[in-house]
């Protein structure tokens, strides 16, 4: 029993990390109708910026808190530039072109990272306030993981408030619903697209910044989470924020509980879950059929 509880908590923490990484992907697809394969590259960029702020700007463990603010903003600005220069000319083209373009972006961003930070891999320390572990339901859990578990719902709430309680949110939802109608009503759709893309980049950057103290920062860290992000948003429903949240939790739990019962196929379980969802509800758990 204690074992299962421990795994549930570990699975939740895994799910929350992947929620933060994948929700931006879902938002971009929902509004811009662009499947940004390079989304995880923004996550990697966030992790590298976190390293830069904590080690190169001023070396201190407490600098993590500054990095938590600066790094995602840096990624958002970078995302804005990418949207303006590269993605914008692609909206009117076929879907395939967008795929090829964003696929190419993975390599371009990887090369940019290599130019700036080299091939070395880096370590970021956990901030002193979040070091240590706590005994929880018979299993040990680090404060840092608790912090990440708590951040997931906060970010979900933040997105909900932004989309449903603000004027900008209403405009974004209108643009999501009908680009042409919004345009006819005098909404600057291009600007909204840039803002949404920047927000999604900010979320990916936040995920990368949060992951930096828990993992290694290295070239290729984007590739390992890309597939997971796709699984999660397919399970939850493309374009659905709540779906990404649900999908991430299911993904985390399938993974952590699968480890105990079916260790040899644990990493395949999430794929199986995705296949089942695609057969029964092709539009995802919380998505809407077209």
């Amino acid at each position: 029993m204690q074992l299962i509880l421990g795994q549930i908590i570990a699975g939740l923490s895994l799910g929350m990390i992947f929620f933060l990484i994948s929700v931006g992907l879902s938002i971009v697809f929902g509004t811009l109708k662009v499947l940004n394969i390079a989304h995880a590259s923004f996550y990697m960029l966030g992790a590298y910026l976190c390293y830069t702020v904590t080690h190169l700007v001023y070396k201190s463990q407490n600098m993590f808190w500054i990095a938590l603010i600066l790094a995602p903003v840096g990624v958002a600005i970078f995302g804005g530039i990418i949207e303006l220069l590269v993605i914008r000319p692609m909206y009117k083209r076929e879907f395939l072109y967008q795929l090829i373009l964003t696929f190419g972006l993975i390599y371009i961003i990887a090369d940019i990272v290599k130019l700036i930070w080299g091939v070395q891999f880096y370590q970021v320390d956990i901030p002193p306030q979040l070091q240590g572990t706590v005994q929880f339901l018979g299993t040990k859990l680090s404060y840092y993981h608790l912090f990440m578990i708590a951040l997931g719902p906060i970010v979900l709430a933040l997105i909900w408030v932004l989309l449903h309680k603000t004027k900008l949110g209403r405009i974004i939802r209108a643009v999501t619903y009908s680009r042409d109608m919004s345009s006819a009503l005098g909404i600057n759709v291009s600007l909204i697209y840039t803002v949404v893309f920047m927000f999604a980049s900010w979320l990916a950057g936040l995920g990368g910044t949060l992951m930096a103290p828990m993992a290694s920062v290295f070239l290729g860290m984007d590739g390992t989470v890309t597939i997971e992000c796709f699984i999660i948003i397919v399970i939850g429903g493309l374009g659905s924020t709540g779906g990404a949240f649900l999908g991430a939790i299911l993904f985390g739990l399938a993974n952590s509980i699968g480890i105990i019962f079916l260790p040899k196929i644990a990493i395949a379980l999430s794929f199986i879950a995705m296949a089942v969802v695609l057969i029964i509800r092709p539009w995802g758990l919380l998505g809407k059929p077209e």
């Binding site: 204690q2 074992l3 421990g6 795994q7 908590i9 570990a10 699975g11 923490s13 895994l14 990390i17 990887a110 290599k114 091939v119 070395q120 891999f121 370590q123 956990i126 572990t133 299993t139 040990k140 859990l141 680090s142 840092y144 993981h145 992951m211 103290p213 828990m214 993992a215 290694s216 290295f218 070239l219 290729g220 860290m221 590739g223 390992t224 989470v225 985390g252 993974n255 952590s256 480890i259 105990i260 260790p263 040899k264 644990a266 990493i267």
Partner: protein
């Protein structure tokens, strides 16, 4: 649509033309010197480029020393590095170019075992020498071995045997083993070889749990809590480099570090240990590495480390093996007195060569350098101001399969 294709094609052609003068000027320089050329394949891009950065300084040092000493047969050595992108096709393409156009005398390098195999098969048809460097699959010099392929480093099989003996020596006969290894060929075979070797030493050892996350996993917590709540006494893991560090971070976070003895396959490699410090190193961990220079007290080793450090500002890793083999090759060519590949192979077979880790035999039956694996318990080394393997034992020839076993494997 057509316009796009046309303009893309144009740009491509312009780029091609721009590249011609560069290629020309390079070959011109070479012809004047008439050097003996060595083709070098490794990954210069992507995550594996760090290993190359630790390897190349060793090779360049060997070549520099040989050339300063009058070269080989009155000709200097020259390294031609190429990026194989860890990809068998790319490696093969580059090898063909090196052999046919650059007319290299031998090719050295590769990290990916599948790339190494592709190159090896090609070199067999060309009757040219191929020296494998960091590719570790034991099959390359066993089942798949042939007259024209050599290996300058140890292989995964012997390292697994070495770390098994290191575990028993440091921890005693622990019986309950948990395996946490990456879900790919290298991870599976490392575990299998380790467990076979371990069971020979501790016959009643049993597997109490296993998990197979993928290479590059960034969240190990679920695996680590499962291990923490299991009855395991010894954790075997063949996650290395960045994965090993990620795992270490999270195992400190969940309080696993030091609770269970660990066999960290390749955790003693310089790329990994140079990231360790007093708060951040795997406790109760037996690890291995190809060149634990901190534990080798010979003047040769000290001089080699100093030279590489002075040259590139890095500590050497695989470079020690590359360095040794380039020197061995130069000696063999000198001995033969000509660039006759067959005669040079005969001279290399069974040769005892000097290396930073002492005398090394290049075994005649499988062309495998009897390079040792340094196994020890990770701890503080105040003298070097670093955390790395302590009380290192160099496990050597005894961990390799015998020549009879190799012959049997090749017959199958």
């Amino acid at each position: 649509m057509k316009k796009i294709f046309a303009s893309t094609g144009l740009v491509f052609i312009i780029v091609l033309f721009l590249m011609i003068p560069i290629a020309k000027s390079q070959t011109k320089g070479l012809d004047l010197d008439n050097p003996i050329k060595i083709g070098y394949l490794n990954s210069f891009t992507g995550p594996a480029a760090l290993g190359t950065a630790k390897d190349l300084p060793g090779l360049y040092l060997a070549i520099e020393e040989i050339n300063a000493d009058g070269g080989v047969l009155g000709r200097p050595l020259k390294l031609i590095p190429r990026d194989d992108k860890l990809n068998p096709e790319q490696a093969l393409r580059e090898t063909k170019d090196l052999v046919l156009n650059d007319k290299v005398f031998w090719v050295q390098g590769t990290l990916s075992s599948s790339a190494a195999r592709a190159v090896s098969e090609y070199m067999r048809t060309q009757k040219k020498i191929f020296v494998i460097e960091s590719a570790k699959s034991e099959k390359l010099t066993a089942e798949w071995g042939h007259r024209y392929v050599f290996r300058a480093t140890n292989n995964a099989h012997m390292e697994a045997v070495a770390i098994a003996s290191g575990c028993v020596k440091n921890f005693g006969p622990l019986k309950k083993i948990y395996n946490l290894s990456p879900d790919y060929e290298g991870g599976v075979s490392a575990w299998r070889t380790f467990f076979d070797a371990y069971k020979k030493l501790v016959p009643d050892a049993k597997l109490v749990g296993e998990a197979w996350p993928k290479l590059g996993t960034q969240e190990f917590t679920a695996y680590l809590t499962a291990i923490l709540n299991s009855e395991a006494e010894l954790l075997f893991t063949s996650f290395y480099q960045t994965d090993a560090l990620t795992m270490l971070k999270q195992s400190i976070a969940v309080g696993l570090n030091g609770k269970i003895a660990m066999a960290g396959f390749w955790h003693g490699m310089i790329e990994t240990v140079e990231k360790f410090n007093a708060e951040f190193y795997p406790k109760k961990t037996v690890a291995n590495s190809v060149y634990p220079f901190w534990a080798i007290d010979t003047p040769e080793s000290k001089i080699f480390v100093e030279k590489v450090k002075a040259r590139q500002g890095v500590y050497p890793g695989y470079g020690a093996c590359g360095y040794t083999f380039v020197k061995a090759m130069a000696e063999s060519i000198k001995k033969v007195g000509s660039l006759d590949t067959e005669k040079v192979i005969d001279a290399l077979e069974g040769a005892i060569v000097d290396s930073p880790v002492g005398k090394i035999e290049i075994r005649g039956c499988d062309h495998q350098a009897m390079w040792p694996s340094g196994v020890g318990l990770i701890g503080e080394l105040p003298k070097w101001n670093m955390f790395a393997t302590k009380n290192v034992i160099l496990v050597g020839k005894e961990a390799y399969p015998t020549c009879e076993e190799i012959v049997k494997l090749r017959k199958r």
